[in-house]
């Protein structure tokens, strides 16, 4: 995947996860919502996991992804 597509998808996923902070979703569900294939989404989610923007939870029904809120401190 070319860099531009990857970045655009990463931003789209950030927007989705940030806008649904309490939701946990599967890669298939995310694929349906974004209209992007699972194969294309997979490296995007891996990148977001690597940056700790999202986390992966293992469940009986498979892997779920959810947003990790940034650290916030009011000084």
């Amino acid at each position: 995947m070319i860099e531009e597509n990857q970045l655009t998808l990463e931003l789209a996923c950030i927007q989705y996860f940030e806008g649904n902070q309490d939701a946990s979703t599967t890669i298939n569900n995310l694929s349906l919502r974004t209209g992007v294939t699972v194969d294309e989404l997979s490296p995007v989610l891996e990148q977001l996991l690597k940056l700790s923007i999202i986390e992966r939870i293992e469940t009986r029904d498979g892997e779920l992804y959810r947003y990790v809120q940034p650290r916030r401190e009011q000084i």
Partner: protein, 685 residues
């Protein structure tokens, strides 16, 4: 053979010789050309030449220069090569001093250029002639090698592909080894990263410094160099340590990514001399690679710019939909981290009011790092009371624990609202993110500022409602009066057709009008609201205003006066005359059904009567129009006026239109108000 190969070869020849080159078949038909502009001239030239050699059997080369036809001087070279039983002619470069048809199209060459071209042509002709004479298929091999460049993935540079060196050693006569050395992370050290040799020698991992040996010398000079008969040259000692004993060496330094230099090299361990053919080929191939890399670099830069614009656009689209400051901070933090792919990112925002605190949102930072970094940022960006910075460029800073960070202030106008920070892997990053981060921080700054303004408006609205509610609790009578006043302000604002913002401003001021100015100051209300109340207070206390009162203050006052005294403040000196008329008309219109109220609204103490004679002269009203006006002021309807004056209703309407026009009023109530107002002024004079 692929047409792309032909095009690339001809383009290379064109570029090298700086004149067009065309490939024709034995029928003088154009097979491929480096420039369509000159193709027909070339065709004509070659046609004439081919007529002289009507049968080209297999491969042929003709001595240069060649002149055809008579009296027309062409500087022509052509060689042929044999492929798939077809015969082609390679033509060019050429120079035309006449005929006239060509003069405008082909630039003239200076004497020196002609001389230089002749030498180059001779060299080229020699190479072509040799290639054709030995029929070894070398030209085809050379073309195949160029074709290889098209096969190599465009995302890779050709220098990263081993096949290049394999081809060079396979196809070029006397070239037995080939490789490339690139700069290592060290400042002046180079390392061979690709190497191919016909024997078992492997030069990979060989490192050298600037100026060291032949390769190091080539980097320093940045010029292609060729060395022959170097078997006993001491500069080969380091190469010999790797088992390479070159007898001839050719180096070609070229600029690759980020201004770094690489050295392409090739040579022979068997032959101490390069043939002119090999020299020519090596130079062509390396030049082609250099241009290919330059093209890829330009293409990559363009693509990067395009990507950044798209990403900035995406971020802007996302942020513009978000109305919550926290979410904007989260998106900015995550988006910048995603773009730069650093270890952490953070945003520190400045408090809006004294009771708030600094807000630090971060991802990837440890607790102790957050504490150290936020103090550092506050000290550097917000130490001064009012942080105003003209310089909003991003800067590269080092954290106290040694990480490199791009810091870009979040600005709106000349206010610094915060700082966007993102870690980069190393200091030597080429800065491609700088402008990108500046754009994002500017977008973020504006978005945060808009939200802050919106939030402070909402906060002020809550306080206004609380203060208004408090009046009900502590002063119920006053509260009832304020409610009447609010209704009046609302209706009169609508009557005046004020826009929504002006109307809201009047209502907010009305709700606060019971409080003293000293109480309202420093409560976070906007200054225009405070000013309205200040001027309103001056009007109620009949003070001489410091400057003309704004319209909302006057509206508040006329309503307040009417509710308090039951009459229109027609004699108030500091009210705008037009507002008085409009307010009179408004009151008349509001009480149209109740003539008693209208009578009460008009000031009784002056015992005024309308001066119709004065009005008739001043506004040039006809006798009949004055009759109609008198009846209007008595509150009589159109139908009754018609019956009283024995005219039709239609005529009454005509008279009314004329009266309104001459008095410059819009309706009946404004006309009445204006008549009373004029008569009052007349009376007071």
């Amino acid at each position: 053979m692929k047409s792309e190969i032909l095009k690339s070869v001809l383009a290379a020849y064109h570029s090298y010789l700086m004149v067009p080159v065309t490939l024709l078949n034995h029928k003088s038909e154009i097979v491929s050309t480096s420039s369509r502009a000159y193709a027909s001239d070339c065709q004509l030239t070659l046609k004439n030449a081919l007529e002289a050699y009507s049968i080209i059997d297999s491969v042929a080369a003709v001595q240069m220069p060649y002149s055809v036809p008579k009296n027309t001087q062409y500087l022509v070279t052509y060689g042929g090569y044999y492929d798939d039983q077809k015969c082609y002619v390679l033509a060019g470069p050429f120079y035309v001093s006449s005929p006239k048809t060509c003069e405008n199209d082909i630039s003239s060459l200076t004497v020196n250029q002609v001389k230089q071209s002749y030498q180059t042509i001779a060299e080229l002709g020699d190479v072509i002639q040799r290639l054709n004479n030995d029929k070894s298929g070398s030209l085809f091999s050379y073309l195949s090698m160029l074709d290889l460049f098209y096969e190599i993935d465009q995302s890779q540079t050709v220098i990263d592909d081993n096949r290049l060196h394999q081809h060079l050693t396979s196809y070029l006569p006397n070239i037995t080894f080939s490789g490339i050395a690139v700069k290592t992370n060290g400042a002046h050290t180079y390392k061979v990263t690709k190497f191919f040799a016909n024997d078992q020698v492997d030069l990979c991992e060989y490192t050298f410094n600037l100026g060291e040996g032949f390769l190091g010398q080539s980097v320093v000079t940045m010029q292609p160099n060729m060395w022959e008969n170097i078997t006993h040259d001491l500069r080969t000692i380091n190469l010999q340590a790797y088992g390479l004993y070159p007898k001839a060496l050719y180096c070609y330094p070229l600029t690759i990514e980020n201004g770094n230099v690489a050295v392409l090299f090739g040579g022979s361990t068997t032959n101490p001399l390069f043939s002119s053919e090999t020299m020519f080929m090596l130079r062509q191939v390396f030049q082609f690679i250099e241009r290919s890399i330059a093209y890829q670099r330009i293409d990559k830069n363009l693509s990067d710019v395009h990507t950044r614009l798209n990403v900035v656009n995406e971020i802007f689209a996302v942020i513009s939909k978000i109305k919550d400051k926290s979410r904007i901070l989260y998106v900015l933090t995550d988006a910048t981290l995603t773009l730069v792919k650093g270890r952490f990112s953070a945003i520190l925002t400045k408090p809006e009011t004294d009771v708030q605190s600094f807000d630090m949102v971060s991802r990837g930072l440890q607790s102790d790092e957050v504490n150290k970094y936020k103090e550092d940022l506050i000290n550097r960006y917000f130490q001064e009371e009012d942080s105003v910075k003209s310089d909003s460029n991003s800067t590269l800073k080092q954290t106290t624990w040694g990480d490199w960070v791009y810091e870009s202030p979040l600005t709106s106008g000349n206010k610094v609202l915060g700082v966007l920070c993102v870690n980069i892997a190393n200091k030597d990053h080429n800065g491609k993110h700088t402008e990108f981060l500046e754009s994002i921080s500017q977008i973020g700054g504006i978005a945060i500022d808009l939200i802050n303004v919106e939030q402070s408006k909402k906060n002020a609205d809550v306080v206004i409602e609380c203060l208004f509610g408090a009046i009900e609790e502590f002063e119920p009578n006053q509260y009832e009066k304020m409610k009447k006043m609010l209704r009046g302000v609302k209706d009169f604002s609508e009557y005046l057709r004020l826009n929504q913002e002006e109307k809201l401003q009047c209502l907010k001021a009305c709700k606060l009008s019971a409080y003293s100015l000293s109480f309202l100051e420093n409560k976070g209300f906007n200054q225009s609201l405070i000013q309205i109340i200040g001027h309103y207070n001056e009007l109620t206390k009949d003070m001489i205003p410091s400057k003309p009162s704004p319209l909302p203050s006057q509206i508040l006052f006329v309503i307040h006066y009417y509710i308090s005294n039951g009459e229109i403040p027609l004699f108030h000196k500091h009210l705008h005359e037009e507002l008085k008329i409009k307010f009179s008309a408004f009151i008349l219109q509001e009480n149209e059904e109740d003539s008693e109220k209208i009578t009460q609204a008009l000031p009784q103490q002056k015992n005024i009567s309308v001066e119709f004679d004065v009005i008739q002269v001043q506004f040039k009203l006809s006798k009949r129009e004055i009759d109609v006006l008198e009846l209007i002021i008595q509150g009589i309807s159109n139908k009754e006026i018609a019956q009283t004056l024995y005219i039709s209703e239609h005529t009454v309407k005509n008279h009314l239109s004329n009266i309104f026009r001459k008095l410059s009023v819009k309706d009946r109530s404004q006309a009445i108000a204006k008549c009373y107002h004029l008569s009052l002024n007349q009376d007071s004079e």
